[in-house]
Amino acid sequence: MADYSASDLRKGLKIELEGVPFEITEFQFVKPGKGMAMYKCRIRNMITGGTQDRTFREVEKIGKPDIYSRELVYTYKSGENFVFSDPETYEEVEISEEAIGDKKWFLIEEMHVNILFFNGKPIDFDLPVFIEKEIIETEPGFRGDTANNVTKPATLDNGYEIQVPIFINQGDIVRVDTRTGKYADRVSSAGRK
């Protein structure tokens, strides 16, 4: 696969360095007075999520990673692995619990996700920004407590612990922001479905 020239670099581009895929998250063109053009980049390791700074010189060739994405459906958990399948061919792709990290809390069966593959292996996927989950356990709110920004712990139906406002009750359906893992708003109240 042809390489990139340094002048192809831009924010959002995915590159490969020593066998690891990186995404450029920040990008700056620099050129000291009489020197060569350079590209100062902040790059994010697409497997570990870690970031680092790297400056590329005009004459450098940078690897182009074999990366593509496919929309698959989350179907079930099998042992330590989460299983996704292609809705048309029924082909199954497994991703380990370790590789999925905290995103495992926000997978819901039948959810469509875009899975990113590097060299044919799944490395990451995009979740919807908001998901809806039921609160299965939380202490009742204290009557008369009207202060703003007061929260209390609650547990979702998959065991995930979350802070919710005082007025949320057991059985309520809430929306969770998957980017932060935090409560967003209430969808419906228990008993008023």
Partner: protein, 276 residues
């Protein structure tokens, strides 16, 4: 826009008081200065100037002793927060002085242009690299390492509360400057940084036609090796050096970046009204 206008009048007034002549030299030319890393924008069979340097030195050789010019220059492919392919350059030259005389001019000029009073610190390039990058490029020059460490280690470490002048570059990074007579591994060149941003580049100008011809040839070789267009050597300029260019100092200062520094901005977006 107001700041730029006030600054330009301050600069013109400064030069008028010091008996400098404002000149205009061609913007479109057949032979842009041959420098390894500066690419000219084609204009028909000719090119747009990347700097007025060669023509201004021809004026010095013709007998003008103090000249300045403010005008557009063009550099192909330079685009970023601090670069724009079309920008405004101020250059001035005077005979009978060297890069240190130009440094005195610069301090006085920036005060006249409206730069608030601040401390100046002059740091030799070798010292800056030893302090922030751990090696001395004037002892064992390595172009790739020099350029990377300059932007990754040295420039970010420069003090922001004062004007910083990096001075005495390794001879390999001399560009069109003269070597130091008593230390030929160094070149009489300095660069001014304000808020960590490079604003100006000054030389004791190279006046030796043979040395100049060698440097053009080196730049031509390096450009060919990188697959870049190789511009014809400006023979009229070399003829002027042969006829005799008196000892002189000169400087190129980016007007847009100076406005940026005066405005406390970090991007040219704020100071160039019609960005491409």
């Amino acid at each position: 826009m107001h700041l730029r206008s006030r600054m330009l009048s301050g600069i013109r007034h400064f030069f008028a008081q010091r008996n400098f002549l404002e000149v205009e030299t061609p913007v479109r030319l057949p032979c842009p200065a041959l420098e390894t890393h500066i690419d000219a924008e084609p204009s028909g069979d000719w090119f747009l100037r990347t700097s007025p340097e060669l023509h201004m030195k021809r004026l010095l050789a013709a007998g003008f002793e103090r000249i300045f010019q403010i005008g557009p220059c063009f550099r192909r492919g330079e685009r970023g927060e601090r670069h724009h392919p079309e920008f405004t350059m101020l250059e001035w030259y005077r005979t009978g002085t060297d890069y240190l005389g130009i440094l005195d001019d610069t301090k006085a000029l920036l005060a006249a242009a409206g730069l608030p009073e601040r401390r100046w610190e002059v740091i030799p390039v070798s010292e800056a690299f030893l302090r922030w990058a751990g090696w001395d490029p004037s002892q064992a020059y390595d172009a790739a390492r020099f350029e990377l460490d300059l932007v990754d280690k040295v420039e970010p470490a420069l003090p922001r509360d004062r004007a910083v002048v990096l001075i005495d570059y390794p001879a390999e990074a001399a560009a069109l400057s003269r070597r130091k007579p008593d230390a030929p591994h160094l070149a009489e060149r300095w660069e001014l940084y304000l808020d960590g941003i490079e604003i100006a580049n000054a030389y004791s100008e190279l006046t030796d036609p043979e040395e100049q011809r060698r440097r053009f040839a080196e730049a031509a070789r390096a450009r060919a090796a990188m697959g870049k267009p190789v511009y014809a050597v400006d023979e009229a300029f070399l003829a002027a050096l042969e006829a005799g260019l008196p000892p002189c100092g000169g400087i190129a200062l980016g007007i847009d970046r100076l406005v940026m520094a005066l405005a406390g901005a970090t991007s040219l977006d704020v100071v160039i009204p019609f960005r491409e």
